[in-house]
Symmetry: C3
Subunit: 440 residues, 3 copies
């Protein structure tokens, strides 16, 4: 019986955490965007760890209501003050340039320049992250403190970018299981130097895939590393027929910070992934909360659009948009933590365990309890209380009527899925259970 989560738990969490954080640190400096060499290099580094198809989709390709945009690349960008000093410099932080800024070289007075500057007055030392993917524009992001210190005068502005026909790139790692029913794990890979959003998701998804490679799995697994929104839309437009195989899915984002877990349910609200995630979180030992579906968020927006309505939820630690570091330079490598990355991976593994192990069984002795004692499955001295393992056997026997799966029984009993699954396995081996013909 596979138990990914338990196996993962047996590993040294500090070693796992360090590896995850180092992987994130290596990806951190790259200037990613929804197209271009930044995301290509990112996918290349992921491919060093897991089998990955890198797909290139040409500019102009129609994907549902959208069109794959021009490819954007950037070599350098800066603002020079009237004395010629580079005071805002892309080389120091790729957040300084509004992502997808068109190429430009110009000299402007301060008041005109300011129309293209973005700051965060509430956090005067942080640089915001801004984009302009679908409207050609340019801009710089800098700390509010710096902007306030700018003296009047003419500033030279230079953006050495290119915005031309090219490709949109995404990565796809498909691990075939015994069934072609799929579990979809989707992360966006388009954010530049931001750590929680979403190097955390990239590293956790990569670690999960690495962990699953070569295993005998019930489900097939598809890991998607995509530019946000347009990437998911592109994948869905090109793989419409595959979506019917998706039985469960997770979008991973903001999953490396110090907060407790948050799981946003799929649009369906009671899909097996929703129940599995809620169950595993309840028993994970960290604070956690389940949130109702809403149509704003990450790529679950696309997977859960009404034309697909896939059972895909979104797993986070702190919820995007609710922490002040979100979309700023403060979402850096210190904001994500090795141990949290490892624990997030482990939680995901435990959710996969539930999906892999959830089945319905039928009690072969449905009339009265079978005599567990004669099979050495009960305590021998009566009058004492029973332990959790025996209790789990009673729960499995009583509710294995073909209408309750193991996850139902785990939820109803309040016992962890693994304990219920172990009990079912033992009872199955004892001939007291048989697998139900059709798992609902």
């Amino acid at each position: 019986m596979i138990s990914i989560g338990r196996e993962f738990a047996s590993k040294d969490i500090s070693v796992t955490g360090r590896d995850l954080h180092e992987f994130a640190a290596g990806l951190y400096p790259i200037c990613r965007s929804i197209t271009g060499d930044g995301i290509r290099e990112t996918l290349r580094q992921i491919k060093e760890r897991i089998p990955l198809d890198i797909v290139e989709v040409p500019t102009g390709t129609k994907v549902f209501d959208w069109t794959v945009p021009k490819e954007w690349n950037i070599r350098d960008a800066y603002i020079a003050d009237p004395n010629g000093n580079r005071i805002v410099d892309f080389q120091h932080s790729n957040l300084h340039v509004v992502n997808y800024s068109a190429p430009l070289c110009a000299t402007l007075p301060l008041n005109e320049l300011k129309e293209h500057l973005h700051t965060i007055p509430e956090h005067p030392d942080w640089i915001p992250y801004r984009t302009s993917y679908y409207k050609e524009n340019w801009g710089f992001c800098l700390s509010h403190r710096q902007m306030q210190s700018l003296a009047e005068g003419d500033y030279k502005v230079c953006i050495e970018s290119s915005l031309i026909d090219g490709h949109l790139s995404y990565g796809e790692c498909y691990l075939a299981g015994r069934s072609d029913h799929e579990v979809l794990i989707s992360v966006h890979a388009c954010h530049p130097s931001l750590a929680n959003d979403n190097l955390s998701g990239l590293t956790v998804a990569t670690a999960l895939a690495e962990f699953l490679v070569g295993r005998d799995l019930r489900y097939s697994y598809r890991f998607l590393f995509l530019p946000g929104t347009i990437g998911a839309i592109t994948w869905l437009a090109r793989n419409r027929e595959k979506t019917e195989r998706v039985r469960h899915g997770l979008v991973l984002t903001c999953i490396g910070d110090g907060g407790g877990f948050h799981y946003k349910k799929s649009r369906r609200g009671n899909a097996e992934i929703d129940r599995a995630a809620a169950h595993v979180m309840r028993h994970c030992g960290e604070p956690s909360e389940t949130l109702d579906f809403s149509p704003y968020g990450y790529d679950e927006r696309q997977y859960c659009s009404p034309g697909f309505n896939l059972p895909v939820g979104c797993l986070m630690r702190s919820v995007w948009g609710t922490f002040s570091e979100y979309h700023t330079s403060a979402d850096n490598l210190d904001f994500i933590r090795p141990e949290q990355l490892a624990r997030s991976t482990q939680l995901c593994a435990s959710i996969l365990d539930v999906l892999e192990g959830n089945r319905s069984y039928v009690n072969q002795n449905p009339c009265c309890e079978p005599q567990l004692g004669k099979r050495n499955l009960y305590r021998s001295t009566g009058g004492e209380s029973i332990d959790i393992e025996i209790n789990a056997r009673l729960w499995v026997l009583n509710f294995s009527d073909g209408e309750h799966d193991l996850l139902d029984i785990a939820e109803r009993s309040g016992l962890p899925f693994m304990v219920i699954q172990d009990a079912a396995q033992l009872l199955l081996e004892s001939g007291l259970l048989a697998e139900a013909l059709t798992t609902r």
Copy 2:
């Protein structure tokens, strides 16, 4: 797109409130009852404001299990003390006489008189309101303090009333809309000098009808001004076939005092009117509470009797029977307030807005989100948070699958119906939505 509530909100609330209160003040002195000239005069004054059919139903008419009673009228009534002084005088307050008291002229010793006197010991200065419609009787109501001060002796009692064959009168204002599906607004008009119960309902219903006259409306509207219980029963008995057109309904009572709103749900419990009223109250800025249906109350008792089971709820501010002024002389013109009357009317108008505007739409781009940006329906700079209007568009798009109406979406999103409706309108105009063939 009609928006009665918004239009109403644009009016000066103090002007509206003053008008409503003045209308109530003009009706206050009239001695109404379930039949007779008091209710006739009341209907006449309402008819000065809105088109009203005044219907006269003869005494003795069978209406289901009931019979239209004799008509009651009264000119004068008093108790004179042993010295001949009129110490309890109908001319001072029509509450002094038990409503429907039979005519009488007699002299009685105090102890016999007392069997016909009604007081409220807990509120010794207030006069109670009592009736004896269906059992011929007589009586006087007075303050407890006055009753205790009565000296022994013979008292002259005189009631110049008449109780003879005549008619039961009610008023009906029908405003035809585009559909013959109806919204029913029902208020009782039989209480004498009591303000919250129910001049408040009369004035609010009249103002609503006045506001709707001449508009292009989705639904037809039927306003009923009836004597309580027997009036609703009479209307239902005479209009049985029309009840099938009633899609939504409200009984209005006790709706002018300083308390927060209370909505008692229809017997169905989840009718559209129940959801609409709860939704509008939730966003109205005043305290509010939804109550389960119970079979005691006002004329929802009849509309929600099991043979009709109409989707009719009851909207109140303070709940009848729970405030001490209820059915006493303290329910006077000071107890109802101009601003509260205006706000109650506005709340009703907002409920009607939901009924008028609630529809189901179908997203014409159900696979992935449509690109709102290219239609100028999205923010232009990425990385910032979205505003409530954009959020509403995402909600409407995601849940416009033909199975959720706009009210569902408003409830699920937590956004006000108007914001959701505006979003739907914009998306409809953009061709992103189409109206669903059948609204559930």
Copy 3:
């Protein structure tokens, strides 16, 4: 109209309580087990009070997955210290011997003896209750304090028991009602000198049966006095076809102590017995709590096994296993109280009242309220509030649509079932209701 609970309530509770406690006191010293003369004598004493079939099932009989065990009887048992003093003596407490201990006469050094001794370190003065029904073994139970005081040396151990082919005995009291649909009341009768578990159940069940004998009852009643687990399994195996008649059932256990009531729902969770028990507890004036079904417990384990899934719940005061006296010598005659035994019996009687009286009616005047006043079923003076009886009539009339039974109406109205039932009876007599053709 039968009202067992009301009739029971009219009795002097202190007299009832004393009688119940005395009956328990008479049964207390008997050394019961799952077979043997102890349970036979217990059944004989019950049979002095109610008609009881005592059924004997031979050792070796196959009952589903189980086999009726050998019969166990015991005359004497003791441990003698090195000086020959009987320091642990079955004659002082039958808990001293592990129930079902095999016969033995031997001399052992203290360390070997200790492997067969059971104590409760947390309650050093109490003797635990232990059994070894299905694994041949022997042992003694004693206070932890005494065990700690034992000096080194050789101890004589003597158990004069017999474990040979014989019978399993159980008692069955069947009271035929107008229908062969049955109410099952099941209690275990196998515990030796333990009072709450389960002389309380035995006495309450006996009192209930005694109270029902000779009455005209809607349902037939079957009271089972069984050895725990094996007894219920044996009965079910021998009476499989009768189980289809069981419409409602209760297992009674731990029902005499000072705690509030606990009702554990049947596996179905919303059976009529579940609703009836919850309703009656809510109005009983004692603290009470409803618990979800779980597969560990008393004989509801068997009745609610998935092959039967009978609507059988379990009524307790303190929940077994949660009070420290459970399965110890402290669960003695002081731990159960006369008044609590009587009140438990009364609560059961009130639950039976609901089952006996619950029906669906159809309002014969479904359009509008019928005029209660002309039938003297309403107050005569209008304007005052109505009392609970009139309110109950309105509830019954409004919801008597053939889809709500009286228990539904009681639950929805918040009024006690008896008040609702009285109202229904009055309305039935007035011709305003008719019995629904099929009660759901």
